[in-house]
């Protein structure tokens, strides 16, 4: 069992499914995260290396301040690689020079756990502050999106309030 930012990721679970245990990460975001960290689809949490887990933790700790992705150069069919004895720093420098900057990155605006819950709370608080219908319904603990109240409003009556998620 690996713990990343306070969330336990079970060893035997597929990595791209285990990441959905984070609040704010669903299946699509988890797949994008795995692609970013070069984790293949059938990899389990116990197959991840320590470096991959560290990268994951550091990315999720603050997605907006992560180093920007660059488009790495990819070999054409006639590309001849340099000899294996070439120092790694020379190779990295060459590849960085050839790489291109990326445009927008969807994962940059990722908000998980406490930050994600705060966003939801602030949205509801904003609706209440401006005195909207949505805000009033949250305050009354009734369905917000036009559902029936004559019957079947159990979930809304249980969960809807201005201060959701504590």
């Amino acid at each position: 069992m690996v713990h990343v930012l306070g969330v336990a990721l079970p060893d035997m679970q597929l990595a791209r499914l285990a990441l959905t245990n984070f609040y704010g990460i669903g299946h699509k975001t988890a797949q994008r995260l795995c692609a970013r960290l070069q984790i293949h689809d059938r990899s389990k949490i116990r197959d991840l290396t320590a470096q991959q887990i560290t990268e994951l933790a550091s990315f999720l700790a603050s997605p907006s301040t992560a180093p920007p992705l660059r488009r790495m150069p990819l070999a054409s069919p006639t590309f001849q690689p340099p000899p294996a004895s070439t120092p790694i720093e020379v190779l990295r420098k060459r590849v960085t020079e050839l790489s291109k900057p990326t445009g927008a990155e969807p994962l940059r605006n990722l908000k998980i756990e406490a930050e994600g819950r705060r966003v939801v709370r602030e949205n509801i608080a904003h609706q209440r502050m401006i005195g909207s219908y949505v805000g009033k319904r949250h305050a009354m603990g009734l369905p917000v999106r036009g559902q029936n109240t004559q019957s079947n409003a159990k979930t809304a009556k249980k969960l809807n309030r201005v201060n959701r998620f504590g």
Binding site: Q13, A35, H40, D41, R42, K44, A75, P81, S85
Partner: protein, 467 residues
């Protein structure tokens, strides 16, 4: 002849070509405690952990015994290919187990006897420790079939002799002129033909490298990482497994070969010229990170030497020409020529790299619909396209260049009557067919299947309700 239980044990241990993650997690059960799952009442459906565990499942409903049953059932559920019950467990007199082992006597598959005279005869493949189909694995259809049969065998057809003659020519020439792709309708016998070619070459002292499921190179089941030196995504684990299998099957031949130039390896200096190729392979098997470099170097050394011809056999050949399921950090799908293993196969298949003596043989497969025959390959092989074609359809120029010069080997859609008769005979003598083996049954099933080999066996003989 080996009893069925030993056959199955062999099959269990080695005929499965697992990816790295599967191999790590599957523990093979003891065969003598195996029970058919459908006959056993299951305590309950086991939910995946993402759906959360109920208290009952956590504590174990009804106590320890059901827990272990459930755990055992979960463990058994992981097997995707059929595993038959050993004959020794069929104790009821209805199964007539005492009469099972003596019926199937087949001549052994030997290159010396492969002439026109043996067409329409079934020959049994040899079974030994270093058998390539055992070490490299088999395609799933063939694996299941050979588990049901008491010994792996195949019928020699006219097209088998043609391919063998072609390979005899290739053994003296470079692989650039001998890049074959076996094509035909679904179930006509492409994988079996490839296996026959592989066994022939192996027995003729070729060095063989077989990829029974090339889809596992491109379906995101093995680790990958960007390599700044080659500017591609390396697949170290798959390269490592390939090197291990290459060494196991071709060990004695690789011991006799020597490197012609020094081979540079990252962080390990240079393997000097004159070193044995087997030692070079062992450098790659000691550290997974070095495996892609070592595999490329080993294949290029094999390409230069002329002592042994080399066969590169690839089943699911179309998969290495399709966009892979791997994603780059920007979430776009990676092209096959940007992944180390498919790129290596594409280079030899296209003639960019070649073996001084040898051939590259691929077999198409339509089983997996996520990796269908791409347009670039269909056009080169003059096959009907499976995707929208025409002048406005997009074609990838790199894949077109990798597909140039491939020649097609067509397998006939229908078995000849004599071949079908032999096949019928083999399954009958192996007591696989519940019905009475007579001309009526044979002709009925042959007509219903239209001569298609897979339909004749699976939908005809094995699924028949006639008695």
């Amino acid at each position: 002849m080996l009893p069925l239980s030993s056959c199955c044990r062999h099959a269990t241990r080695s005929l499965l070509a697992f990816s790295d993650s599967n191999a790590a997690c599957v523990g093979l059960p003891a065969l003598n405690t195996q029970v058919r799952n459908y006959a056993k009442a299951r305590p309950g459906v086991v939910k995946p952990s993402s759906h959360g565990f109920s208290k009952a499942q956590k504590k174990g409903k009804g106590g320890e015994l059901e827990d272990t049953d459930q755990a055992a059932a979960t463990k058994r559920k992981r097997y995707t290919a059929f595993l038959p019950m050993p004959v020794a467990q069929l104790t009821h007199p209805l199964f007539e187990t005492d009469q099972r082992n003596s019926q199937l006597q087949l001549q052994s598959f030997h290159p010396e006897i492969l002439t026109e005279a043996v067409i329409s005869q079934a020959l049994a493949f040899p079974q030994n420790d270093k058998d390539p189909s055992r070490i490299f694995g088999l395609p799933r259809n063939l694996l299941v079939e050979y588990r049901i049969l008491s010994k792996p065998c195949s019928v020699i057809r006219g097209v088998t002799i043609d391919v063998i003659n072609r390979l005899d020519l290739a053994s003296q020439e470079g692989s650039t002129n001998h890049r074959l792709v076996i094509a035909g309708s679904p179930g006509c016998g492409k994988s079996v033909l490839l296996l026959q070619a592989l066994q022939y070459c192996y027995m003729r002292d070729w060095i063989v490298l077989y990829f029974p499921r090339a889809i596992s190179l491109v379906n995101s089941t093995t680790s990958y990482a960007y390599d700044p030196r080659t500017q591609t995504y390396a697949q170290p684990v798959f390269a490592y497994q390939t090197l291990q299998r290459l060494l196991t099957v071709n060990g004695p031949r690789l011991e006799q070969l020597r490197t012609q130039a020094g081979v540079e390896v990252e962080r390990r200096g240079t393997v000097p010229a004159g070193a044995s190729l087997a030692d070079l392979v062992k450098v790659g098997t000691k550290e997974q990170v070095l495996a892609p470099t070592v595999l490329t170097a080993v294949l290029s050394e094999l390409g230069k030497q002329t002592a042994f011809p080399v066969l590169l056999a690839i089943d699911d050949f179309q998969a290495i020409y399709c966009k892979t399921k791997y994603r780059d950090p920007h979430y776009s799908r990676i092209q096959p020529y940007h992944l180390s293993m498919p790129r290596l196969l594409l280079e030899y298949a296209s003639g960019l790299k070649q073996f001084a003596r040898g051939a590259v043989v691929g077999a198409l497969s339509g089983t997996d619909t996520t990796f269908k025959l791409p347009l670039e390959l269909a056009e080169v092989l003059s096959l009907p396209p499976t995707s929208p074609s025409g002048p406005y359809a997009k074609r990838v120029p790199e894949l077109q260049s990798y597909a140039k010069g491939l020649s097609r080997v067509s397998v006939p859609d229908a078995l000849a009557v004599s071949e079908a008769t032999e096949l019928f005979d083999v399954w009958t003598r192996d007591r696989a067919i519940p019905a009475a083996p007579n001309d009526e049954l044979f002709l009925a099933k042959y007509s219903e299947s239209g001569g298609n080999a897979r339909d004749f066996i699976w939908k005809g003989l094995l699924s028949t309700l006639t008695l």
